[in-house]
């Protein structure tokens, strides 16, 4: 157990710029933007036609008005939850890049700087090393990013609460806890399902990092591109490209085919998300042959990376 903790900790330290600094800086940036725009609210931002029968001078007024409106009970918590995601969600933009480049350097840098000879002088098996280098970016990094997103949503909510408290509005309306927590859980589970679909591609990147003697990024991108080009020229088909597209997220087009997409307002959207999307994503995936084939391919690449690590010096 100690070994795994030490390995994961080492991987985290090695990649802490991507795993921690980048999302924290982006979160701080988005909180800053929220603060700036809140200070300008009612002064520079106009809501033409939205609140026409009321004098809106600040956020507190807007909130009071919204809560009192006809559909306020239903829509306001959902609207606030979603706006927190918008206000504190920029960090996620960085995650795919962090995961990709962490995997690309995972088994490459240690060979380049010869530190592999130090790691190999420790009683740690190659499969343990490779798994730690796979699990950290693929599963641990999203957890850290989600924690930072949750943290910054709470900071934004606290900040807005203080503003509204001074302006004299309904502060409690800013804390729709049930739907906030709901979206966190939803996000985590959907993200994991998506990760499992992308797993063969991520495992390919890890394999490349164990194989490439130089320029791993070329090795990661060129072979699939060449295969696609050859397929296109010889057979005039795009099977490989379509396969990659589906693994990368295209599967969701099929998964949600039967869902009622008639959305009227934020409450409908959240209801759809909780009631349908998540469940459909999971059942569709578990019943999809391509999903399982993808996992087998992923296991193959990870196995290949372990075998290459055993031989590497």
């Amino acid at each position: 157990m100690n070994t795994y903790v030490a390995l994961i900790k080492r991987e985290f330290l090695d990649g802490q710029n991507g795993y921690l600094r980048v999302p924290v800086i982006l979160a701080a940036l988005s909180i800053f933007l929220v603060v700036v725009s809140t200070i300008g609210f009612g002064e520079t931002i106009e809501f033409d036609g939205v609140f026409d029968d009321y004098e809106i001078e600040n956020l507190g007024d807007a909130l009071t008005e919204a809560a009192a409106s006809k559909r306020g009970d239903e829509e306001l918590p959902a609207a606030i939850t979603l706006s927190y995601w918008v206000m504190a969600g920029i960090s996620w933009v960085a995650l795919p890049f962090v995961v990709f480049f962490s995997l690309l350097s995972a088994l490459y840098e240690e060979r380049r700087d010869r530190s592999i000879l130090f790691w190999k002088s420790m009683p740690v098996d190659d499969w343990q090393e490779v798994l730690a280098k796979f699990v950290t970016p693929v599963f641990l990094a999203p957890i850290i990013f989600l924690a930072i997103a949750i943290g910054s949503q709470i900071v934004v909510a606290l900040f807005l609460s203080i503003v509204v408290l001074f302006q004299g509005g309904p502060v409690l309306e800013l804390w729709p806890l049930a739907s906030m927590i709901g979206t966190w859980i939803y996000f985590a589970t959907l993200y994991m399902t998506m990760t499992l679909w992308v797993l063969p591609i991520l495992a390919w990147v890890l394999f490349v990092s164990a194989y490439a003697s130089r320029l791993p990024i070329m090795w990661a991108l060129l072979p699939p591109a060449i295969i696609m080009a050859i397929e296109g020229i010889l057979f005039e088909t795009t099977t490989v490209l379509r396969w990659i597209g589906i693994q990368l997220g295209g599967w969701q087009t099929y998964a949600y085919r039967d869902l009622n997409a008639d959305i009227d307002g934020p409450a409908d959207f959240l209801a759809l998300v909780f009631g349908g999307l998540q469940w459909e994503a999971l059942t569709y995936s578990l019943g999809s042959t391509q999903f399982w084939i993808g996992l087998v391919i992923a296991a193959g690449f990870v196995f290949g990376a372990i075998e290459l690590r055993k031989r590497a010096t």
Binding site: L7, L13, S121, P123
Partner: protein, 286 residues
């Protein structure tokens, strides 16, 4: 009964047609300091990499009863190595290196490592990248000397270091680490610096072990004679393995010839390991 740390039988490594290591059989007992000496590309590192489970090989090899190519992880509980200078991860802080080793190695004694480091100028909060070459080696040595291993392999551990560090390195290795329950294997080009600490020596040439001996025995076998003028013919008859000229006098190196007999030819002296190595490599003394 002698306990062996390494037992190799027909150990071979080939790259296509090229045999980096020709079939070699050897045993290394516990409680020795073995110097493996050979020119660049002779196969020293190949042999050690096989022993350390860093590469595949043919033949039988058992290190502390383990098969290195299959059980490297397990093997490293009892075996430690410094394969080269500067293999410590440069992005880690000194304290993080210690944390990591403490986390993965059950036989690592952190307090011991700290007491080694306290005697050096290695700063704990600095990254390895920011350490001088000498400090990096001191750190690495502090780590391996605090691991209770049976076999320590040092492959050119002092390459590129200045002489003071090299002397200190071998001194602390001998005084504070080595005992009868451990074996140390060293390869280096600076043969003179290690010959006084070695108990055994192995010469490798072109992928072949051409000599295996205990140091005491070896240095008695080789005698250099500065031949008295006029005795050259007699000297030649005794079959020197190597001949040279120093200060206008002929010098001959003999292997396994009685010292008293040689004394009749001229002034005799024992050879250093480096000279024995050169004589063995260039002469017919194999």
């Amino acid at each position: 009964m002698t306990e062996y740390v390494i037992e190799a039988n027909g150990l071979t490594k080939s790259y296509g047609d090229f045999k980096a290591l020709k079939p070699s059989s050897f045993k290394v007992p516990l409680g020795r300091i073995l110097g493996v000496i050979g020119a660049n590309g002779a196969g020293k590192t190949t042999m050690l990499n096989a022993v350390l489970g860093l590469m595949s090989y043919e033949g039988d090899l058992s290190v502390m009863g383990n098969n290195p190519s299959k059980e490297r992880g397990k093997l490293m509980q009892d075996v430690c190595f410094i394969a080269d200078v500067a293999t410590l991860p440069k992005w880690m802080k000194v304290s993080e290196v210690l944390d990591y080793v403490e986390g993965v190695h059950p036989r690592f004694d952190r307090a011991r490592a700290m007491s080694f480091l306290d005697r050096t100028n290695v700063p704990q909060d600095r990254k390895v990248r920011a350490l001088s070459k000498g400090m990096t080696v001191q750190l690495h040595l502090a780590v391996v000397m605090s691991i209770d291993a049976k076999l320590l392999v040092l492959d050119e551990p002092t390459l590129g270091l200045d002489i003071i560090f090299r002397k200190q390195f071998y001194a602390s290795l001998l005084e504070e680490y080595f005992d009868e329950n451990r074996t140390v294997i060293v390869t280096t080009h600076q043969v003179e610096e290690i010959e006084h600490i070695l108990s055994d020596v192995m010469f490798i040439k072109d992928g072949e072990i051409i000599l295996e001996a205990e140091m005491d025995e070896l240095t008695q076998q080789f005698i250099e004679v500065m031949v008295t003028p006029g005795m050259e013919e007699e000297a030649q008859k005794l079959g020197p393995i190597s001949k040279g000229v120093t200060f206008g006098k002929t010098t001959c190196i003999y292997k396994n010839i009685d010292r008293e007999k040689l004394a009749e030819l001229g002034e005799t002296r024992r050879l250093g390991l480096a000279d024995i190595f050169v004589a063995t490599m260039t002469g017919e003394g194999q």
